[in-house]
Structure formats: structure tokens, C-alpha cells
Symmetry: C2
């Protein structure tokens, strides 16, 4: 538990570092910096900069949520395909050195796990016995709360809803598998599919709106709002794929609450949530089973707030 100073939570993302400071249960400061692409030492230094930028004085503890495979006990990022970082970087220790606190005061966990903890303890799933939190962003990740606790599993891989099969033998996923949810609903997969169909002659504003940049979630949201047919079709397919994977999750572990978050889902807002809710409902094997898909409430701060909960 936190002592004199504040607890800092850091969400280390592929493009940005989001930090928040919590004192007496409230967010008292926050800061955002771009994620360096020059390895683990640069990332640790940038995290320390983000902590410093909040101007909060003495830091008591730091929690970090990072993408990829994490060794929590060792405080290392074993592997993180979405970060420009070496294998097995001892990130907790490096951050402790840069900030100037004991390494035992820095905890590291998977970003999706901490975001799930945040939504479960302080967000849309507060008080729920069981819940699946799904984060639809560049990829599709998830965390599973069963019996009031985050389930990790023997290998810490629980909740990988993005790699649930929705169409066996279907689209190629980033992991190499075929027909996984992520290949129909992740932002990167949607961008690839949009550019492919555009190259094949499908008219769309998506490519124009994105320009030379990656096709951001806001680009999809703008195109949908403007009635762009390809964007609407791709996001309909995404909602249906989410419906299939989430209905499978309901059949397997008997869930009544699904929290939908992540950059893309947040940007698309209520119409997308409603479409996913409807797509799940149409696929339930027991009709009228009370299953709700609700919007995540912590938004961009879920990961950082969740990281502080590593010390709660």
C-alpha cells in the first residue's frame, strides 16, 4: 500500500506513454509523451520524464502496464512486438534508476491485465463477479474477471479474445493464425483490408483521410460519420466478428457482462457498442440470456489507472 508520496501509473503504449498520479484514490496529475523507438533504455528514460512532467514531488510507488509478454516477478518485458525494444529488458529496474527509487517500488504487468483491473475496480465492471473486458485498438486484447478476480492462467495468457477463432480458415491474423477475431476487428487489420479493397477499386474516403499516415481510429470514425460505404461495411464485419467471439466466450464461461473499450471502440462510440451488443445477442445459444455489452468508462486512462492498482 502507498505510504507518504503518490502512486504513479504508467501505460506504455506503442505510440505514447500515458502517466497518471493517484493520491488518496484520486487522479491528481497526468502526462503524455511519445514512446521512443530507440530501445529499452530510451523508453525507461521517457517514462521517468513523464513522471517528472507531472510535478508531483516524491514518488512512492510506480506501476507500469506494458504490451506483450511480461515476467511480473522479474519486472522484465520478455517480448513486445509492438515496441522497439530488446528481448527481456528489465524495465522495472531501469525506470527505478531513472526516477531514483528502489527497484522494489516499481511493478510491471501486462497492459491489458491492468486496464481490465481498472475497469473492474473503478470502471464499467465495478462490483461485477464475472466480466470480460475487450479492448479494440490496433489489435484486440482482453482480460477476464471470474469470481471477482482477474484470471491470469498458468501462462498468464488468459483473455486473448483477439485470437479466438471466428471463421476457421479465414483471414490471416498478425499471429499467423487464420480467422481470428483480431483479423476482422483490429484497427491494423481493418486498415490493411481497407487499403486492399481500395487498391481493388472500392471507392472510399478512408485512404484519402489517412493520407500518408497510418489509418487512425479517428479516420474510421470520420468516414463512418460521412456515410463512407467501405468504412461502414468493414465496421459492420468487425461488429459481427466481435459478436461471434463474445458469444463463444459467453458459451464457454457463462458471462453476463462484457466491457467494450480500446481506441477504436472509444472513437466509434455508442453506435458501435450497440452494433456489437446486437451481434452478440443474435448469437446466444440460449435466447434472451441477459448479457450486456457496455462501454468502458475509463477511456485512455484505463491502463495508467490500472497500473496504479498493482499497488492497491
Amino acid at each position: 500500500m502507498s505510504g507518504a508520496g503518490v502512486v504513479v501509473g504508467v501505460d506504455l503504449g506503442g505510440t505514447k506513454i500515458q502517466a497518471v498520479a493517484i493520491a488518496a484514490g484520486d487522479v491528481v496529475a497526468d502526462a503524455k509523451l511519445p514512446t521512443p523507438t530507440r530501445g529499452g533504455a530510451a523508453i525507461a528514460s521517457a517514462i521517468a520524464d513523464a513522471v517528472g512532467a507531472m510535478g508531483i514531488g516524491e514518488v512512492d510507488r510506480i506501476g507500469i502496464g506494458a504490451p506483450g509478454v511480461i515476467d511480473r516477478a522479474a519486472g522484465t518485458i520478455v517480448k513486445a512486438p509492438n515496441l522497439a525494444i530488446e528481448s527481456s529488458v528489465p524495465l522495472a529496474r531501469l525506470v527505478a534508476q531513472h526516477v531514483g527509487i528502489d527497484a522494489e517500488r516499481v511493478a510491471l504487468d501486462n497492459d491489458v491485465n491492468v486496464a481490465t483491473m481498472a475497469e473492474h475496480r473503478r470502471g464499467a465492471a465495478a462490483g461485477a463477479e464475472d466480466a470480460l473486458c475487450v479492448f479494440v485498438g490496433t489489435g484486440v486484447g482482453g482480460g477476464l474477471v471470474l469470481g471477482g478476480e482477474l484470471r491470469r492462467g498458468a501462462r498468464g495468457l488468459t483473455g486473448e479474445i483477439g485470437h479466438v477463432v471466428v471463421r476457421d480458415g479465414g483471414r490471416r491474423c498478425g499471429c499467423g493464425g487464420l480467422g481470428h477475431l483480431e483479423s476482422y476487428a483490429g484497427r491494423r487489420a481493418l486498415e490493411d483490408e481497407a487499403r486492399r479493397r481500395h487498391a481493388d477499386g472500392a471507392p472510399t474516403k478512408l485512404v484519402e483521410l489517412a493520407g500518408d499516415e497510418r489509418m487512425k481510429s479517428s479516420v474510421f470514425a470520420k468516414a463512418v460519420a460521412a456515410g463512407d460505404e467501405l468504412a461502414i461495411e468493414l465496421l459492420d464485419e468487425a461488429a459481427e466478428a466481435l459478436g461471434a467471439a463474445l458469444a463463444s466466450a459467453v458459451a464457454l464461461v457463462d458471462l453476463d457482462l462484457i466491457v467494450l473499450g480500446g481506441g477504436l471502440a472509444d472513437k466509434l462510440g455508442e453506435p458501435f457498442r450497440a452494433a456489437v451488443d446486437d451481434a452478440v445477442r443474435r448469437r446466444l445459444f440460449v435466447p434472451d440470456l441477459p448479457v450486456r455489452v457496455v462501454a468502458a468508462t475509463l477511456g485512455d486512462h484505463a491502463g495508467a489507472i490500472g497500473a496504479t492498482l498493482l499497488w492497491a
Copy 2:
């Protein structure tokens, strides 16, 4: 816990009633009778006959596993599409009356739940922290053990792997859904598909072997052994569909052990287990994840033995 007499376990199936008697942890007697098709009173009477047929003297407790939706607290079968039985039959009380013991000494639970408990406590998953037991028979059912305990879930629906989506929009399932595992791997669905393809001109021994009867699991096993192309193709598709659903389960709850049982899987034996194991392995999103598909070890007695565990 059992007192002076023996504990009886009953597996109430769509076609047969299987009873076992356990004393000091060992099966000391067993009996099998056809399941009546004249309603709950006839079924309760037949269960009492099966108990009597074992010649075990005083019965201390009875556990019953039954298909469908069970109200455990009330001891009633709420709904059981595979039994000729009225809604909300108070089966525990009726059996107690027929056997002549207190109704509090008869426990009722779902058949797949008790079979899973049996494989977890005394069978192929003995000692496992986490395991999914999949029973491939007329339909496809399953039970999920997490953290050493059978998970039931808020509505008691956990483990319905037969209704996990493997091909969204695909084959119509008995429940009305599209592309569920059961519609590719359940015996009834395989029979329907075999008769359909046979009617369309596909040559096969399956229809001839089945004659005017239902196409039993043994018929599929014989046809495969005889090199029947349609039978081999259908069971290859079944193994692949199981691979997809089970890989999804691994992604969602991080499992390392899957127990494969049920009438069809038992009859098809080791080649089918190996095919399913391989189909799962080819679909794991993390290569070389140690996940094993092992054969159930209690066979036909899993349900009845599991029913006695309601008193363990």
C-alpha cells in the same frame, strides 16, 4: 459424506440409465436399463429399478446426473430436450419416494458437470488445476475446471463448448445458431450431414451400416476403419472444428489440459484423439504452447461415478 450404506450414482441419458454403487471409494456394483419414454414418473421408477437391480442393500445417498437445465437446489429437471419428460419434474423427490429414502438424500445435477467432476477427481484430469472436459456424443458438451474447481457460472451454463462459434454464419446448429462446434462434430449433426451428402450422390457405407436405425458412434467407427471416404472426410472436419473451438478456449482461459470423451470420441479412439490434438496445436496463437488433448479414462461410467461425487 456417506454414512453406513453405499452411495449410488445414476447417469440419466437419453437412451439408457447407468447406475453404479460406490463403497469405500470403489465401484462395487453397476446396472444399466433403457430410459423410459413415458414421462418423469416412469423415469424415476426405472431409476429405482436400476438401483434395486444392483442388489446392494441399504442405500445411503443417491446422486443423479441428468441432461438439460437443472435446478440443483430444487432437485428438478427444468428442461431436457433429449428426454421424454415434462417441464420442471421434481426428479430427486420422485426417485427418493420410489427408493424409499429421504428426499434430502437425493442430489441432482447436470450430466456434463458431474462427468467433468469425475474426470477431474478420478480420471484423466486428476490433480489438474485447470482443464476443459469435452464430451463428443449425440451433441457436444463440456465442463470447465478452473483453479481446481468446477466452474458453474451465474446461470450454470459454463463449458458449453458445443455452442462455441467455429465458422460464423456456417452450418445450422440444433440450437438454431450458425456455425457452432456441435453442428460439425456432434453425432446427430454428422448423421444428418452424412444422409444429406449420401442423398446428393456421395458413395458411403454409413447409411447401409446404420440401416433403419440411428447412425450410432460404432457405425462411424466401422466406416472409418473400412476406409469409407465420406466417413473419413466428415470426421476430419469434426476434428478440425474441435481444433478451432478448443484453440479458442485456450486463448480465452489459458488451458494446458483438454480431456476428450463422450460416446463418439470413445468409439473412434486414439486416431481421433491424435487428430484433435494436432488440430488444436496447429491453431495455437503462441507456437509450442504446451497444451495436451488426452482421452477421458472413465468412459461410460464417468457420469454415474461423477453423480456419486455430489456426495463426496
